[in-house]
Point group: C2
Chain length 484, copies 2
């Protein structure tokens, strides 16, 4: 009862129905599954292994820049959220409330954390007394709950996993520097490890985090032309320190409020990997975060268990010693063709095929997932060649995503053109904007596009123009896109 | 305004008031702090770094034995818990309930997970169809909420962190083997990395996990003579698979219920480290899990920043290259004496002192935290000597805890003797027990001691005797102790 090799034919092509393809990929590649509670998902081992790689690579960077991890409570008393009304207003429609503990009705409702500024602010007010206690550079890996109406696995779910950094500084400049340093760190991390090019910059007031002075974000263009916010870094000013009374005695013994930042990325990044790199045959995972970097498929003909499998195991051992994540698929109940399709669908960057003839010729056939290019690699060159090929796959995925981003970033002159693009291929649209929330909201209402970021000044680009909607003079260039 | 060096004098000696000492250690060493919500704690960076080391070292072992990590939802519908009445009865007094999401009253209450058998059982019933899908070997690192009445940081808190393994197998024997393999893995892990000797064995029916066929545990003796359960491994039989209908088609195409296990350890292990190894001067952390293994204190006299600090930094670099966790304490506002006390209190295994005279003599003074022994180590021998000293500290901490355990495991003949020991030095008491819950409960009511484990058969030990309470013939030897 061998299964046939038409496996991938069961997948809706990405080009035919992006949204359906996305959901099918998640189920078929066993990244995640729907939980029986509305809006919640289970992250399955293959999906979670991607998240573990993301965690490891990002955690290293967070620690190298001087931050430590800690853990704050899941529950936040309602009165804490109420202390900061803007913050509460931003989150209260999304909060899940614990009202009963054991058999007792609670006197005060507890929010299941939608973010941790309030509880962390409360603790910082106890811990920070003197300039000697600063800066406080803490990060937390945790689960977050937001009662979302419309959900989609990895992109927006009632519960998700993330890291949230929360820092306190003695001066405004230090906090601003931290905000920007983390924004750059996120950009470098996502581009290097996830092979996804991003643009970064400040958010407009309308898109700002509830309670922040400034919100910065990295944004990427998915292959359906919609933007995905990949991470945010907030300069909080002294807003929360005033509310939670976080003060320190400076060297001159004056009491000062601290300056704060907060920043985070989430399991949404797994969704970004699917949408940025996937194709009609399935996922294409960048080697740096792929749970399996190399899949070895022995060609199961004749006495393959005696003739081929031992050689395959030698190769596995050799590649494991290089620190690569390798696996042999020696299942008997599937044909090689079926295995090829399956691992292509699951996005393994490189496949190694080895059969009796290859053993005689002392080489293997390697097949890249990104280009499907085949290559003969002699046994003696495996250790040298495979890491280079993986690096090349990592680079090409980035390059091809960058090419897509460039080709889909439009410079438009009229609102008519703007609307036409948003109705068809979408993408980023670069325009001048007067700075008025009124224009921003009208554009959103009419086209569903929002300002993803205010572009930093670019010496090679136009400095002045007219608001795309109202025509007023403007020196504010922004990127619009429809966003997830 | 240099602080004086009488720092540790502020700590309640462990010998004077163990419980007060424990709480003070947690606060002063900045392992954790009380959260403003009853029964909840914040794990501070120093405490969390211990947990991260525990996670890393245990996660490696869990993966090496073939398990993968995944993530299941925080919320479990009440009806899922109700499916298994024994399980529900066990947990319902401890459940925190979410009843409101956003602005809506929920139709069905959601439990904040007190453990995940129910939600995972539900998912396994979807994922497992055929013998080809077995075994399923999944682990989860997650937060858990149990509405506890009496709490103590790390030992029993409303929220805690843990890992929970959940496996499904085709045969009873495989599931039993998994249960025992994990029990052994936990024992080896705790003894090797935490330097805490444990006894392991089956629980009595009264102490069994709600819904399990058999519960096995590792138990350690804390230095106040009380036992701490360090981890449990449950053989679940087909109990949950029947309730959640987890069935597979075997090779003969018959439908069979799977056999399951579940197992976990938690942040309680951090509490165990404090209570097993700490002394009157503070913590004594085993090098394998210490956030800082070596603290370098430059002796700040004269032009120490020019004369001494560069040499200290060279040593730091050399030790970092060996993969050690090293830190220089170059703070100006504290005296060396104050620093010595502080790092002793925080349990750093090894201190290196270096002053102008040491530089002339090309050596450092090292001071072990466990014995306070001093040693001169020539610069040229640092790379060789320091790892050996750290290994020796790891071993001695284990040996001294083992000696304590041996000396405090009592073989008693009469119930009178039993009561006297439980009223004074406590410890483990080894006795025969008739097997009746009635005797077990009476002993508990009268002495507060519970059966920690049923001892496995020991060929060198007595096989038969009389129940310590009722005098009936018995071949069941058990370990009693007062437990946390």
């Amino acid at each position: 009862m061998k299964k046939d090799d038409r496996f991938v034919k069961q997948i809706t092509p990405k080009s035919a129905d992006f949204s359906k393809w996305y959901l099918e990929m998640i189920r078929k590649a066993e990244l995640a599954d729907y939980a029986p509670m509305k809006g919640m998902m289970v992250i399955r081992p293959y999906g979670y292994a991607i998240w573990e790689n993301i965690q490891r690579l990002l955690d290293e960077r967070i620690k190298k820049t001087g931050h430590s991890n800690a853990y704050f409570p899941l529950f936040i008393p309602e009165s804490f959220l109420q202390k900061e009304t803007e913050h509460l207003k931003g989150f209260s429609p999304e909060v899940a409330w614990v009202t009963v503990g054991g058999s007792e009705e609670l006197e005060e409702r507890l929010a299941v954390r939608p973010t941790s500024e309030a509880i962390i602010g409360n603790m910082y007010s106890k811990w920070i007394k003197s300039w000697r206690d600063l800066p406080v550079l803490i990060n937390q890996w945790a689960n977050i709950v937001r009662w979302e109406k419309v959900t989609r696995p990895f992109l927006r779910t009632t519960e998700f996993l993330w890291q949230e950094g929360h820092t306190a500084h003695g001066t405004e400049q230090e906090a601003v520097d931290e905000t920007m340093m983390i924004l750059d760190l996120y950009k470098e991390f996502v581009e290097t490890e996830l092979a996804i090019p991003v643009v970064s910059g400040k958010k407009s007031e309308m898109e700002r985090f509830a309670g922040a002075s400034d919100t910065y974000a990295i944004e990427a263009l998915m292959s359906d032309g919609k933007a995905l916010q990949m991470g945010t870094s907030h300069f909080l000013g002294q807003h929360f320190s005033e509310v939670f009374n976080i003060r320190y005695e400076d060297k001159e013994q004056n009491l000062q409020y601290v300056w704060q930042t907060s920043w985070g990325v989430s399991t949404r990044l797994v969704g970004a990997l699917i949408m940025s790199h996937g194709d009609d045959s399935g996922l294409r995972l960048p080697p740096n975060v792929a749970p399996i970097q190399v899949i070895i498929v022995p060609i199961s003909i004749g006495n393959w268990k005696e003739d081929v499998l031992p050689a395959a195991k030698d190769i596995e051992r050799e590649l494991l010693q290089l620190g690569l994540r390798v696996k042999i698929d020696d299942r008997e109940e599937f044909t090689p063709g079926w295995k090829f399709s399956e691992w292509e669908m699951r996005g393994v960057p490189l496949r190694i095929e080895i059969g009796p003839r290859d053993i005689k010729n002392k080489h293997v056939i390697s097949v890249r997932r990104d280009t499907l290019e085949k290559e003969q690699i002699p046994f003696s060159e495996l250790s040298e060649r495979i890491p280079l090929v993986l690096q090349d796959i990592q680079n090409s995925l980035f390059e091809s995503a960058l090419k897509f981003q460039t080709e889909n970033t439009h410079d438009v002159q009229t609102y008519d053109e703007f609307q036409k693009i948003m109705d068809s291929q979408r993408g980023f649209i670069k325009v001048f904007w007067c700075g008025e929330p009124l224009c921003e909201r009208k554009i959103k209402d009419e086209t569903m596009a929002t300002i993803r970021i205010v572009l930093p000044e670019d010496p090679h680009d136009k400095k002045e123009g007219h608001c795309i909607l109202c025509g007023k003079d403007s020196n504010k260039r922004v990127l619009f896109a429809k966003a997830y």
